[in-house]
């Protein structure tokens, strides 16, 4: 379990409910924050490495899809800065994370072993979840990553509950819950955050707002200019943040998390991002998204912007990039191999873990299948 010690903040740097998204880096990669950057070089470079690893993993997923090894992917390119920023803002293995299906970048940056990630994607024995779910459903007990469910927004009430338990038990933990813009339309989203606000639980609700829910554009999703301002419905702060800016994502999340940890209650953090790929491998986004729009956002690539930032500080070079890419490629290739080597999930695992102990009707069904397979 990884425990990071985060710098303790003296002040609150960010204003909720801004019209313009909070950014700390200009498109050219200049630091435009009005407070001192307090991160060491190792972390600054790690953020880049993680983003790059996520981008490359996304590409891997597509390859695995093409070769028929995985049945489905939920592209995360464009979400890297948001996911990596948040991952580093929390105490890994201590705080809890409630991710959704687009969050394998978050999982990676939280330290989920690659072999587990690919094991889950391919559904082999390397998957700690025993091949029970579709690809793109992160979960890790040791890292306190609550098993994602496909049902949009269904994890928000459990996040509130876990945070309430943290408060009751005084564990000093925080629950960080991520979701898309579409998720904010579900009743459970609202009901759960309302409860969290009443109880002032240590939770941070993070929206990766890519302005589409599959094909449904933001304008059909809600009439509020921002997601952040929905926080008014709960009486909690809502931060409108440039989610293509890894430092803005990191710092706002960190402040929100530490506020929560200090007992000041939950907040809502909106990270404005863009998904470069289709919604999923089953989607055709040309039906609903103009190519110019995609191009426009491609020019705002979160990796490129952060690369410029690092380069300005002498923390990035072509060489390092090359080296990183090779390392990452190797790690991922090895992980895929190891995941495949672990072998297929046995048929009978289907009947385990429905309950803590086996019930008679399931044992009968297990026997029926066993007979059939013999």
């Amino acid at each position: 379990m990884v425990h990071e010690t985060l710098p303790v903040m003296g002040t609150e740097w960010f204003q909720p409910f801004t019209e313009q998204p909070i950014a700390l880096l200009s498109e050219e990669g200049e630091w435009i924050g009005d407070f001192p950057l307090d991160l060491d070089e190792a972390l600054l470079r790690q953020l880049y490495r993680d983003m790059l690893a996520v981008r490359l993993m996304d590409e891997r997923f597509t390859v695995l899809l093409r070769t028929g090894k995985v049945s489905f992917t939920a592209p995360m390119a464009g979400h890297e800065a948001a996911q990596v920023g948040v991952a580093h803002a929390l105490r890994r293995g201590h705080d809890w994370v409630f991710p959704y299906y687009r969050d394998y970048g978050l999982a990676l940056a939280l330290g989920v072993p690659l072999v587990e990630i690919f094991g889950q994607m391919i559904a082999t024995r390397a998957d700690p979840n025993k091949g029970r779910q579709m690809p793109c459903h992160p979960s890790s007990r040791p890292l306190n990553i609550f098993a994602a469910a496909s049902t949009v927004a269904s994890h928000i009430p459990p996040a509130t509950g876990a945070a309430l338990s943290m408060k009751i038990q005084g564990t000093g933990q925080v629950a960080v819950c991520t979701f898309g813009d579409g998720a904010t339309s579900e009743g459970d989203w609202y009901a759960a955050i309302n409860f969290a606000a009443v109880q002032r639980v240590p939770a941070v609700f993070v929206c990766e707002n890519n302005r589409y829910a599959i094909s449904v554009p933001y304008s059909c999703q809600t009439a509020t200019p921002t997601i952040a301002e929905k926080a008014h419905a709960f009486g909690i702060p809502g931060y409108h943040v440039d989610g293509m800016d890894v430092l803005a994502s990191y710092y706002v999340a960190r402040e929100a998390i530490e506020r929560a940890r200090a007992g000041h209650g939950p907040s809502l953090v909106e990270l404005v991002v863009y998904r470069y790929g289709p919604h999923s491998s089953a989607d055709d986004d040309t039906r609903y998204r103009p190519r110019e729009e995609v191009e426009l956002w491609r020019r705002r690539d979160p990796l490129a912007r952060y690369q410029r930032f690092l380069a300005r500080r002498g923390l990035w070079s072509e060489e390092w990039e090359q080296q990183l890419r090779e390392e990452i490629a190797r790690e991922q290739a090895e992980a895929i191999e190891a995941a495949e080597r672990a072998g297929e999930v046995p048929a009978e695992w289907m009947f385990d873990d429905v309950y803590a102990e086996p019930l008679w009707h399931l044992e009968r069904q297990r026997a029926l299948l066993r007979a059939e397979l013999q």
């Binding site: 029970r132 609550f146 469910a149 509130t160 876990a162 009901a191 309302n194 019930l359």
Partner: protein, 324 residues
């Protein structure tokens, strides 16, 4: 040993379990100062404080879903849904989160929680204070389902449910909350989930019931006895898992069975049990299994009492299988 109504037994049991295990917390609408609208949580707030007795906002999804998160994080939440009819706004949290968490995480996470709810009709509650939605839970793999009918069982089964490592839906027939009193031992006993109770031994036919309808079932048994017919009466108590041994043992013996419950008939729990009996005991059956269920209408108000299986209806069914 105290003589208690069912709802008193429940309130005491909650207090005992909270005393025993500090991970046990209670949450729901009006469970605090009000002590629950049926007083099932009376006195708990004073005794255990607002951190362990939580008045929630009016959202069943928030209640059940928060319980999932609390349970996954290490507590043992007992959530109250004010009336079983109101579980539906929170049904996704039960079906998607509570029921599937252990499975989808490969056993990494679990949701040891209890969702208590007053269920069933007979209290002039109309559509939304009368339903018996157990079939919805029984059809949802990953949930255990209990329906109590006596104060004694309420205590023992509630304790078993709270200590169970799986989510348990715990149905409390509201009509029986104060219908009778019974001696309830003070000690810490458990009634195991999954075991039926033989309420009356008999040889001529088996009547299987549970929950709200048990008083009528028992009355029917008495009437039959007066008419010289020996009915064996089972109270299922648990619907998932249900006690196939007790059921087949009895029906194999009598060869005739009537199944009684107040939930709607179509695709209900009684269908499951009747179909299983038909499948397993085909050769031993002397008559077809007959169901006496609620009607397939929304629960009416004006005909509140007629909706529920009446003693007459049960006796008619008994006659049908006896004279077959």
């Amino acid at each position: 040993m105290a003589t208690l109504t069912m709802v008193q037994a429940i309130a005491r049991t909650l207090a005992e379990e909270m005393e025993r295990d500090e991970r046990v917390v209670v949450l729901g609408e009006d469970v605090g100062k009000r002590g629950g609208v049926f007083l099932a949580t009376e006195g708990l707030l004073d005794r255990f404080g607002p951190d362990r007795v939580i008045d929630t906002p009016l959202s069943e999804a928030a209640i059940i879903g928060a319980a999932v998160g609390m349970a996954a994080h290490g507590l043992r939440p007992v959530a109250e849904i004010q009336f079983a009819d109101y579980v539906f706004p929170g049904f996704d949290q039960l079906a998607t989160q509570a029921a599937k968490l252990r499975y989808r995480s490969g056993g990494q996470f679990m949701a040891p929680m209890v969702v208590r709810m007053p269920s069933g009709g007979g209290v002039r509650g109309g559509h939304h204070h009368s339903q018996s939605p157990e079939a919805h839970f029984a059809h949802t793999a990953g949930l255990k389902v209990v329906v109590v009918s006596t104060p004694y069982d309420a205590k023992g089964l509630l304790k078993a449910a709270i200590r169970d490592d799986d989510p348990v839906v715990f149905l409390e027939p509201k009509r029986l909350y104060r219908a009778t009193r019974e001696e309830v031992p003070d000690d810490d006993y458990l009634v195991p989930i999954g075991k039926a109770a033989v309420r009356r031994e008999g040889t001529d036919l088996t009547i299987i019931g549970y929950g709200t309808s048990m008083p009528e079932v028992l009355k029917a048994g008495e009437e039959l006895a007066r008419a010289g017919v020996s009915a064996e009466i089972l109270d299922l108590r648990s619907l998932v898992p249900w006690d196939i041994e007790a059921v087949t043992r009895s029906v194999a013996k009598t060869g005739r069975v009537v199944l009684v419950a107040d939930a709607p008939r179509l695709s209900g729990v009684l269908g499951e049990i009747a179909a299983t009996i038909a499948e397993e005991l085909f050769d031993q059956m002397l008559a077809p299994p007959v169901r006496v269920a609620g009607f397939d209408t929304p629960y009416p108000y004006a005909q509140d009492k007629l909706y529920l299986p009446t003693v007459t209806r049960i006796l008619n069914a008994a006659k049908q299988v006896l004279e077959y």
